[in-house]
Symmetry: C2
Subunit: 351 residues, 2 copies
């Protein structure tokens, strides 16, 4: 719900000194102060003909075909971390969820909840990051909302994004399409996002280039789908690779065997995980996709994924089996170890 | 982003004792604990074939025609107030914004940010309220997201809703359709929502039946549109009637004259406003719509609105004029007083 303003054009031409200010309660109260924030920052960064109308709702032209729709609120702490920030994360998270269902993300809504005292300069940096990531992913911000809550104990910004986009008419993806024998593919090393956020919290000293993998995957996914043979996809965010695989075995009643030696984990992620007592298999990713593909097409799918920057090190890491049920790790010494779903005790507020 | 679970059926059949528990950080961590919350509460309350799949994104059938899309995050404090709660508000707010653009709201996404320590019983009450309001408005919850943040200084729940629905193909609504001479219509007394939230905060003693007007207006709006002659609609939420009218005059360059004696304000709202030094014209509403209609059709639009429960006391309150520009109140003694847009200092966190 954004109100209409006639002065968008003239205000956008003024230069704005947002650097010296902080968010006040009045920025969320619906009056002139909120309108200035919307026009001088949000319209300036995300402006397009639909958003700039600032009506109660955006009106989009007819959306062709089935639509994939996803919503996510981001509460990551801190707001900035190596490899990204809450803005980049908010775009990637929703773009990726739409892409996982085969949707081609086009439109995004943005809901800001800001704490009083948030620096406008930080907010503007985050807005620029949202704009850059949206451009990279090919999505448009079509409508938004701004709320302000009292000064408090955290860094002070939560962002909801809701996105949608058309799904090709004949595409069938989902757990019901998964078959015994299907290959399990991942597009790169695991645990990087959670490791980067942990390091950014600064609770311990860590030297080493740990960066979040946060990235929009819609173009990578499109390339994989073009090959054919893809049964389903899912992005292993909160709960990591192990949790996501358990969701799939829970839903299919099948088993999955993962080759421990095939799963890429960087030395630095292992280091952070070791320091914090975390298991990389349960650590969150924000730029990874697990692709289930038929044996016949698996190599071609991997090859297609490797052609994209976000999939250079794509590889098969395992296989769907009729039994044993559940998720299993074939260790380097050849034994099978169960990878169960945890109750939920990894790091909080990683996305 | 909700993960898939095979056990939905069996878990939904179990009875759940949510009364004795509170939200823990683990409810947002992606593991079993989060999955139980999703299936035992969210699926149970909002379950439908699309949502119950719990995929990364919902896939909706082809959406016919142009789509109105709106997003809103609700941070109201306290969570429960006379006449509603944050759940009812979250459904009505977005349903109404979609309806204001002529959209027929059908689908809703739900993003929860919960504070550690939130009582599950309160959450369940809010979920039941969401379900009941969604049913009344005719919208379906199609996908959702759950985040948990640390225990803190407020009551602990923020809800984002994003909604969309088709706009009739020939309908043209918007500030550009407003003409000098158009009638300004409202569906009932102003200021009730803000007054109810103020009373619920309990900072002062107030005896009197003040209830929020929070209600879905999509059916009322549909009735008004069926008459024809409607130029635009807007719901006077944050900032109230005065702010909304200023948005319209800002966008059109026209003037609006409101008859003070025609604007309904209850005795109790006047009482609360007096105690707190608020002006009812700037107080938030959550079940009001301002309709701009051609003079020729205005009486018929009012009559159509009066046929709905949410529009029994609909009436004309003013007129669009070529000049003077801006918003003016014709007082009971006949003078014109400007109704400007405030900087934004009414009550915080009213929606």
């Amino acid at each position: 719900m954004l109100p209409t303003i006639a002065t968008i054009g003239s205000m956008a031409r003024q230069s704005t000194d947002v650097g010296s200010e902080r968010i006040l309660m009045g920025h969320g109260a619906g009056g002139r102060r909120m309108h200035r924030l919307i026009t001088e920052m949000f319209i300036r960064r995300f402006g397009n003909p639909v958003l700039s109308r600032l009506d109660d709702a955006a009106v989009l032209p007819t959306l062709r075909g089935r639509q994939a729709v996803s919503t996510d609120t981001f509460v990551v702490d801190p707001l900035f971390f190596p490899g990204g920030d809450i803005g980049k994360l908010a775009v990637c998270g929703t773009v990726n969820d739409v892409a996982m269902m085969g949707g081609d993300p086009r439109h995004l809504t943005l809901g800001f909840v800001m704490r009083e005292g948030l620096e406008l300069e930080a907010l503007d940096r985050i807005c620029r990051s949202i704009a850059a990531t949206a451009k990279r992913a090919g999505v448009q911000v079509v409508t938004g909302d701004t709320k302000v809550i009292e000064h408090g104990d955290d860094h002070g910004l939560y962002i909801n994004t809701t996105g949608f986009g058309p799904v090709p008419s004949r595409l069938v993806l989902g757990t019901e399409a998964v078959r015994s024998g299907d290959a399990v593919i991942i597009n790169g090393p695991i645990g990087e996002h959670e490791a980067a956020v942990a390091v950014a919290r600064g609770a311990f000293r860590f030297r080493g280039p740990v960066r979040s993998d946060c990235a929009p995957l819609n173009k990578l996914v499109k390339g994989a789908l073009a090959v054919g043979g893809v049964r389903m996809m899912r992005d292993p965010t909160r709960g990591g690779l192990a949790t996501t695989l358990n969701e799939v075995t829970d839903a299919t009643g099948l088993g999955i065997v993962i080759e421990e030696s095939a799963v890429p984990v960087s030395k630095h992620v292992r280091g952070v995980a070791g320091l914090l007592g975390l298991d990389p298999f349960y650590m969150a990713n924000e730029g990874k996709v697990i692709v289930f593909a038929s044996t016949a097409k698996a190599d071609k799918v991997v090859a297609a994924m490797r052609r994209r920057a976000t999939g250079r090190t794509s590889r098969r890491i395992g296989e769907v089996v009729r039994e044993p049920e559940g998720v299993w790790l074939r260790t380097r010494i050849g034994s099978l170890r169960p990878l169960i779903m945890l109750e939920g005790e990894q790091l909080p507020r990683i996305c």
